[in-house]
Amino acid sequence: MSSVLSCSDLSFKVRGAELLNGVSLEVQRGETLGIVGPNGSGKSTLLKLLAGLREPSAGEVLLDGQRLGKMARRSIAQKLAVVEQQADTDDGIRVFDAVALGRTPWLSALQPWSAADDAIVEQALTDVDAMHLRTRLWRSLSGGERQRVHIARALAQRPQILLLDEPANHRDIQHQLTILNVVQALPVTTLIALHDLNQALKCDRLAVLERGRLVALGAPLEVLTPQRLQDTFGVRAHYLTDPFDGAQILRFHS
């Protein structure tokens, strides 16, 4: 296992407020790494820094061994795709065209759109089960459908690494489950910020953020201990065992 994306001592400040403080972690090739933490703990900030969308105030990010700050945006986008929390548009764009934007890093001004690009876009739509939406207008989609189209756009970039910010946020329960399954079935390394801790248990590893600091990193059941849940999230919880498959489920108490 080698690390495809790593950061060391990463910090980010906005007008003196420290949003992220000394975070170091390595993402292993092929894994699904979940990021959890209470609201405002720095999950989105961490993803933005790892994607190179913000300049860190200290520390650095390495993508495939190269310093992110020194790479051209285009070569970053050929390796790493981002699904943002609430990227929206008022334009009357259709789903297929929105997903086709994912081909941008692979096309140049003189290079025409090709049949291969069509095939990649259609595959991406199929992967997120959104092929039937292809001619719909973006405006007419539900929140969950929009999120899937965003993921399809990211997949159309054919990235090695996928960064997702809270994709489960506004989706109905059926799709919450399938997206995580889809993402885990893809041959890409995934970094995913999650709200639902029971979903987070399905990741290969979890990173727990608390007020901008990385306070735990490891296998989900080792990281999300009742003590950790009490300290970081302020909730009391214990594990139940699902009699069907022996999986662990968190139950919360007030």
Binding site: R73, A77, V82, E84, T89, D91, G92, T104
Partner: protein
């Protein structure tokens, strides 16, 4: 490939017909056949026997006017597309954002304070004014609230327009003779009278250049659909593209303002109509907007010359009469889309 060739030919034919119509229609109308014969005489030495007065009117007065109108319309519509895409704001337009007002101030400053003369130095002054106005308006929008807010930047644009128009008026009152003042005030409202060949040689290349630069970056403009962060994650060097394309919009606006004064709403009306007809992809939106802008401004100029007998209405008045209701429609449309 073949389909796009046909589309290009249709576009060029449309443009040619619009120019010929723009030349033919006027207070003394001239047969379109005569217009074509004059063009043939001048371009290929075809040697048709024509009335030299007609020939003079067509070649030196009407044709230059139609060509400059086409270039201005195309250029301003292209600017509208750039600003709307990059600022993610459907109401962005060089006129509403105060860029035209800034360009006017710059041009008037050069004209009155006599920092060199001639078309080029007027354009340079206008460019400096346009960039200054844009930077001020963006800063004001940033300081006063979230820069993404649609209303904020338009309000900042109004403040900017007012400021620069006041500066222009101040400069005129302070430094211009009453005759100069009259001329400048008429020019400020948008006036295609008095354009001759040197204006054509400035306006047409600048309009074409603006369109080519934007077409080269059409995929970058598409990538801004979901905002600047999304564009960056799609591999667009956001800051670089923004500076280049907005600089390009400022340059085109400045050159057009220095030739014909500030003509509003072309950059608002035309891109919206083109989006309704063709969708949002810039590969088609940009050329369609440029063509639409060219035809629209030729038509507006024809109207401005023929609507009131013996009088020329400033062409900016005509575009505003069409544009302001469209602006209102967009406002209402956005509200109901929410």
């Amino acid at each position: 490939m073949k389909a796009s060739l046909i589309r290009t030919l249709v576009a060029l034919a449309t443009l040619l017909i619009a120019v010929v119509a723009g030349v033919a229609i006027g207070e003394t109308s001239i047969e379109p056949g005569v217009v074509v014969q004059v063009l043939a005489n001048k371009l290929w030495n075809a040697g048709y026997a024509l009335d030299p007065i007609d020939e003079g009117i067509v070649w030196n007065y009407r044709l230059t006017r139609a060509l400059v109108a086409a270039a201005c319309g195309a250029g301003l519509a292209t600017c509208g597309v750039i600003l709307q895409s990059l600022l993610r704001n459907p109401l962005a337009d060089p006129y509403l954002l105060g860029i035209s007002a800034g360009a006017s101030t710059g041009a008037v400053m050069v004209a009155l304070l006599g920092v060199g003369a001639g078309m080029i130095s007027l354009s340079v002054g206008a460019f400096a004014g346009a960039v200054t106005a844009f930077v001020l308006v963006i800063l004001l929008a940033r300081v006063s609230g979230s820069a993404s807010g649609t209303g904020q930047i338009i309000l900042a644009g109004i403040a900017g327009s007012q400021l620069f128009n006041a500066l222009t008026a101040f400069l005129i009152t302070r430094s211009a003779s009453s005759e100069q003042a009259r001329g400048i005030m008429f020019w400020l409202l948008g006036n295609l009278g008095g354009v001759r060949w040197p204006s054509v040689w400035l306006a047409v290349p600048v309009a074409v250049l603006g369109l080519v630069v934007c077409l080269w970056h059409r995929r970058a403009l598409d990538a801004f659909t979901f905002g600047a962060d999304s564009a960056a994650s799609l591999g667009i060097p956001v800051r670089q593209v923004q500076i280049l394309l907005i600089g390009c919009a400022a340059l085109v606006t400045a050159v057009m303002v220095s030739i014909v004064g500030s003509i509003g709403f072309v950059g608002l009306v035309i891109p919206h109509a083109a989006r309704l007809l063709l969708g949002t992809g810039h590969a088609r939106l940009l050329p369609a907007s440029a063509l639409g802008g060219a035809v629209f401004l030729i038509a507006a100029d024809v109207l401005s010359r023929t609507l009131i007998k013996g009088q020329v209405i400033p062409v900016g008045v005509i575009t505003a009469l069409v544009g302001a209701p469209v602006f209102a429609l967009i406002l209402v449309g956005r509200r109901s889309a929410r």
